[in-house]
């Protein structure tokens, strides 16, 4: 497990675009396939926007990771927002407390290989996702 990591603040819509660009650049660098690049970039876009809209802003850390066999990208989205009260409900397709389609969180989980969520009401939310090269 090693590799450089980059940290980006998320407090405006432009920051979400920056996160997307950084994830795309690193995905190309670790040679993810085109489909996996697009999936990871889209997942990052969803989660970064959640950090902004529901978490009230936060930060994103993007890192290259390596296990015995494969390289990959790990992204951590952290905010100090209100947290998620009912995780099961939040991960249900079509459920939203905002004005979206309700597919961001559940959809992002399907787009990546590993998905971890750590949240507590009033204490913020941290989501860690990983995508490995095939």
């Amino acid at each position: 497990m090693s590799g450089e990591s980059q940290r980006l603040p998320v407090s405006t819509d432009q920051d979400v675009v920056r996160v997307r660009q950084l994830v795309r650049t690193l995905s190309v660098a670790v040679k993810l396939s085109l489909v996996d690049q697009t999936k990871l970039v889209t997942a990052a876009s969803e989660l970064a926007r959640n950090t902004l809209v529901y978490g009230g802003g936060g930060e994103v850390v993007v890192a290259r990771v390596q296990n015995e066999r494969r390289a990959g990208i790990r992204i951590v989205f952290a905010d100090q927002g209100p947290g998620i009260a009912d995780l099961e409900l939040a991960l249900t397709d079509g459920y939203t407390t905002g004005g979206g389609l309700g597919l961001g969180l559940s959809g992002a989980r399907r787009l990546v290989d590993e998905f971890e969520i750590d949240t507590e009401p009033g204490k913020g939310t941290t989501i860690t996702v990983t995508k490995w090269c095939r």
């Binding site: 819509d13 675009v17 997307r20 795309r24 085109l34 489909v35 690049q37 697009t38 999936k39 970039v41 889209t42 876009s45 969803e46 926007r49 397709d93 979206g100 389609l101 597919l103 961001g104 559940s106 959809g107 992002a108 399907r110 787009l111």
Partner: protein
């Protein structure tokens, strides 16, 4: 420290008495900073006006830059920084136009006329500092306005609605589709539908790098709005990786026709209409 009204009037006297030499020296100092990118006659005119502005403000008993008596001076300063910002000078080069007054005054004081000494100079200096800071603020505001203007121009540039065929309009989307752009696209498309009387619209997303739920939602809303106006929408330019991502995300486009390429979409529309003339307008002629 603020100026006393006494000091203010002494400085007004100084600015008047040594007007000629101050303006000359001041202009020289500023010209050095701007490295000849502004003609010296033009610069001298600006500086002379600024000197008069300072003189009048101080004469009128202004002790703070925010005073009523300084209104004229403030207007001059914002105009100056607006000019500099639009001509592409940087913030330092803009602020130096004001700061140089201090050096010029110091040199005049050095040249003999003992006009009150250090205390006066320090007080006057802080007045000039505030004027320079004000210039800096105005400079930043003008630059921000310029950037906002450019962003808006970019928005306009990047969202054309083109007529592909009689009765078929197309919107080639390129780049990031955020809420502001989605709004512009929708307005343009709906207006073009009315203007051309087209029953078909093709939204091409070949140039959109990632289709997430927000982008999909914007596109869906545009399609629904176009349908309300009686036009059919086809979404084209769905590449393999985008298709797989959309499926994984769980986005459903329902009964909206989608095609891999713009050519497919046009063929589909023409096939549907049996290649007849599509426009309501034409049959009226």
């Amino acid at each position: 420290m603020p100026l006393s009204s006494d000091e203010a009037s002494r400085f007004a006297d100084l600015l008047k008495e040594h007007g000629e030499s101050l303006t000359t020296r001041w202009t020289e100092l500023v010209a050095n900073g701007l490295r000849g990118r502004l003609s010296s006659t033009e610069l001298r005119r600006q500086i002379e006006e600024l000197r008069k502005g300072f003189e009048q403000a101080l004469r009128a008993g202004s002790v703070h830059l925010t005073d009523e008596a300084s209104a004229e001076l403030r207007a001059q300063l914002s105009e100056l920084s607006g000019h500099r910002a639009r001509q592409g000078f940087n913030a330092t080069e803009t602020a130096i136009s004001v700061y140089a007054l201090k050096d010029a005054v110091l040199e005049v004081l050095d040249n003999g006329t003992d006009n009150g000494g250090l205390r006066d100079y320090v007080a006057f200096s802080s007045f000039v500092d505030r004027a320079a800071l004000f210039t800096f603020d105005s400079y930043v505001q003008v630059r921000e306005a310029l950037i906002a203007d450019q962003a808006e121009q970019l928005l306009e540039l990047s969202t054309p609605v083109v007529k592909l065929w009689e009765g078929v309009v197309a919107v080639p989307l390129v780049g990031t589709l955020d809420s502001a752009r989605a709004q512009v696209v929708m307005e343009r498309l709906l207006q073009t539908l009315v203007d051309t009387g087209s029953p078909y619209a093709i939204i091409d997303i070949t140039g959109v790098p990632a289709v997430d739920t927000q982008v999909a939602q914007h596109i869906l809303k545009t399609v629904v709005a176009a349908r309300l106006m009686g036009a059919d929408c086809i979404i084209s330019g769905i590449r393999p990786q985008i298709a797989q991502t959309i499926v994984a995300l769980g986005i459903e486009f329902g009964d909206i026709a989608t095609k891999a390429s713009l050519a497919d979409a046009l063929r589909y529309v023409l096939g549907k209409t049996g290649n007849r003339s599509l426009s309501g307008k034409r049959t009226e002629r």
